[in-house]
């Protein structure tokens, strides 16, 4: 491994990553300006905050600000430890993904450069990619505080800040990468374990982010910040013996011109050395993982089973009480199978609506007793986005993701109306399960609501029957059939929404509005007029849902057949 090779590759890669000019060619490609604009906005925000800090700093005056900083050198512990933590969490799986996707950089790997150098360079690119957020936002702020002290210290403080961010992210990426590689090694070759892991991790991430959103929006400022700091303290982020303390002391001490001890400097150098060692070890382990081939084993090798498999009669399951055509049952079976075999996708589809419904569910848990009858309405309201989303995801998104099969004529002979119906039906079991779960919650919150439980359990799948074909129709009209279902993607890869333009808004808005109007309407009638009337209206809702289901399944089918027969022929 040579340093010159490393720097050379790094320069080429960074130039590619931060492309400034659009290519001149005639063939149309995606615009590359979006990411540049984001960088520019981040920098502007950083400069804006920096300007505010400078304004306040000069108002306070350096003579008063300096002792304030000197007495609170550990002030930044929390933030700087958080940088380390984010660097770690953000890169847990990336080294493993770089190795697993090494086929994508086969060209570079066959070049006359040591493999270890290539992996080290890729890890460094990741360090820069993760650091850019903190550098673009933080450097202007640090520089602004330093500017209050004077020009001389500003450049030193800014350079020190950038270096320390790189060191901290380096430690996070190095350590996170090693953890990710170890985890990947454990599950390599065990597809089911891996998918279960993806499901659990994705579900946990959704739950964690849901609580985060809720706190961010509903907790009072002081409570939120206090809670955050308490949580940070629990994680050790405010500890006086943590790496973040050294970061804080070195930066603030440099700006204030005091308070930095030799131990702090040596600790800082130690951290820098740790970052380099961790990154190097990460490259060595990545190289070993690449050569061993265990990360690519599952995806690229032929089966080693020598036994000729025997199959029973092919009979995809149908839904009870429903007569399905062959196309319909095959479409339903395929949809459920392709989703459930991707743990991350399944978790996303099943739990994603929680992000919106959390705002409806939390008040239920803390509501006073006299408001409990109304809380039933909130529980029902919280169930509606689930019923809608399952329809949108299973029928709308999946129609788009399967678009490749439209293009290569695999589905040319299919009756697309039946095909769409199958996709909608595939969402019904999940919608029914969610409605049962929400009914249980409603019963726990307010037992007299038992009267409306059958209504809720029947109504939710009806909402899915409305949302699914509508989404499939919008997908057929405005779907980006080149979009890929990528829940886990490599950093820098573009995320393509499956349904584009106004249709993306319509598929969420229209079924949700319909769902809220129908379900809440029935409940309100039941509570304020008579439960009997609520059930009478339910009969009408069943008719509306079935008619909508048939009508939009037909429209979606016609649209898909037209696409298949025109654009892709």
């Amino acid at each position: 491994m040579t340093l010159s090779d490393l720097l050379f590759l790094l320069r080429l890669d960074l130039k590619q990553l931060f492309r400034l000019r659009q290519p001149r060619g005639k063939r149309g490609g995606k615009s590359r300006r979006g990411s540049l604009v984001i960088h520019f906005i981040m920098l502007l925000v950083g400069v804006g905050i920096g300007w505010g800090v400078y304004f306040i700093g000069t108002a306070i005056g350096w003579t008063r600000l300096r002792p304030l900083i000197l007495n609170n050198l550990e002030f930044g512990n929390f933030v700087f430890n958080a940088i380390l933590l984010f660097g770690f969490i953000g890169s847990v799986m990336y080294s493993a993904m770089i190795v697993a996707n090494s086929a994508r950089m086969e060209y570079v790997l066959t070049m006359p450069v040591a493999t270890r150098t290539i992996f080290l360079e890729k890890t460094l690119v990741l360090v820069f990619a993760v650091s850019e957020f903190w550098i673009l936002l933080g450097t202007p702020v640090v520089a602004a505080v330093a500017l209050v002290a004077g020009w001389g210290v500003t450049i030193v403080a800014a350079l020190l800040y950038v270096s320390l961010v790189l060191v901290f992210i380096g430690i996070g990426v190095g350590a996170g990468g090693l953890v990710g590689l170890a985890a990947a090694r454990l599950v390599a070759g065990h597809r089911t374990v891996k998918q279960a892991g993806y499901f659990i991790l994705t579900a946990l991430a959704i739950l964690a982010s849901t609580f985060w959103y809720y706190n961010a929006y509903f907790a009072e400022d002081s409570q939120f910040l206090g809670g955050l700091i308490s949580f940070g303290r629990l994680l050790g982020l405010t500890s006086d013996t943590s790496p973040g303390r050294t970061f804080s002391v070195l930066i603030l001490g440099t700006i204030a011109g005091g308070g930095v001890t030799l131990v702090d400097v040596l600790t800082g150098l130690g951290l820098a050395a740790s970052a380099l060692i961790l990154l190097y070890v990460n490259a060595v382990v990545s190289e070993a993982a690449h050569y061993s081939g265990w990360l690519t084993y599952e995806s690229t090798r032929s089966s080693d089973r020598k036994v000729r498999p025997r199959h029973g009669r092919w009979a995809p399951r149908t839904l009870p009480l429903l007569r399905m055509s062959q196309t319909c049952s095959a479409s339903m079976w395929y949809n459920i199978t392709s989703i459930r075999r991707k743990g991350g996708v399944l978790a996303q589809y099943l739990l994603n609506p929680l992000r919106f419904t959390v705002f409806l569910l939390f008040p239920v848990l803390t509501a006073p007793e006299e408001l409990l009858p109304f809380m039933t309405i909130l529980v029902a309201a919280a169930a509606i986005p689930f019923a809608v989303s399952y329809g949108v995801y299973f029928a709308g998104y999946e129609t788009v993701y399967e678009g490749k099969n439209l293009m290569n004529l695999q589905l040319a002979a299919a009756n697309f109306e039946e095909y769409t119906k199958g996709k909608v039906y595939s969402a019904l079991p999940f919608s029914l399960a969610a409605s049962v779960l929400f009914s249980i919650v409603a019963l726990i919150v307010n037992p007299p609501v038992a009267l409306y439980v059958p209504l809720l359990i029947i109504a939710m799948p009806l909402i899915t029957l409305i949302a699914g074909p509508y989404a499939a129709f919008q997908a057929a009209v405005a779907g980006d059939f080149k979009a890929e279902r990528m829940i886990l993607r490599q950093r820098g890869a573009a995320a393509q929404p499956p349904i584009t333009g106004l249709a993306a808004l319509k598929v969420q808005l229209v079924p949700n509005l319909a769902g809220f109007a129908l379900v809440l309407g029935m409940l309100v009638i039941g509570i304020f007029v008579s439960p009997l009337y609520a059930y009478l209206v339910l009969a009408g809702v069943i008719v509306v849902a079935v008619r909508t289901f048939r009508s939009y399944s037909h429209s979606a089918g016609v649209e898909l057949a037209q696409i298949e027969a025109s654009k892709y022929l």
Binding site: F8, Q16, P23, R24, G25, R32, R104, Y107, V113, G293
Partner: protein, 256 residues
Amino acid sequence: MIEAIQLTRVFGELRAVDSLTFRVNPGEIYGLLGPNGSGKSTTMRMLLGLLRPTEGTARIAGHDILREPVAAKRIMGYVPEEPVLPETLTGWEFVNYISDIWRIPRGHERDTEIEDLMTLLDIYDACDDLIETYSKGMARKLSLVAALVHKPRVLILDEVQAGIDPRGAATIKEILLGLRDRGATILMSTHVLEIAERMCDRIGIIQEGQLIAEGTMDDLRERAQRQGTLEEIFLSLTGGPDVQRIAKFLEDVNND
């Protein structure tokens, strides 16, 4: 010269490549043939240093791929079966990027050579377009330009002519024959047996990771104890189609 010495690669319980030994001499095109999943690509990946053999080793012009990988790679050019190229670069940028990694001095001479190669393969018109806009055939041609730009003494080509238009395929054939005549060592895999028959000086047939036959066309005919085309020899050695099953299928089609 390429030497595979007892090359073995084991994945779990599967011996993907099993004690494979062969040699490709300078000034020779060697065709590596075999059914799908027989171990051709795994063999090539080991020769290129992309995959470590479980046992055995390989030497490229005398450099052991395990002990001196950089020296070995320095004299090789490679076109993968499915080239994954950086989509955010233009064709011109990509070849220059590769040239930079090879440390080919920048300047007029390099530009002219790249331009000539791209023109020869009919992709110069698209050289300023992003690679993401290229068709599969164009991407393969571009990867060949990248493999040839440093004038390698050893070329490893995995299905190089697949998906290429007839004019492009003919151009590639002429380029490879010309390089062979100038002393290059070329190892290529292909499923198009006519190409192998017309271009390769020697052929190795592998099945289930083992070399089951090797030699010139005459050697193979002798081994198979029959005259005929390479396709006929290949099928007699690796097992031909299941005629009975085909007949039954066609009968079912007729009945329908």
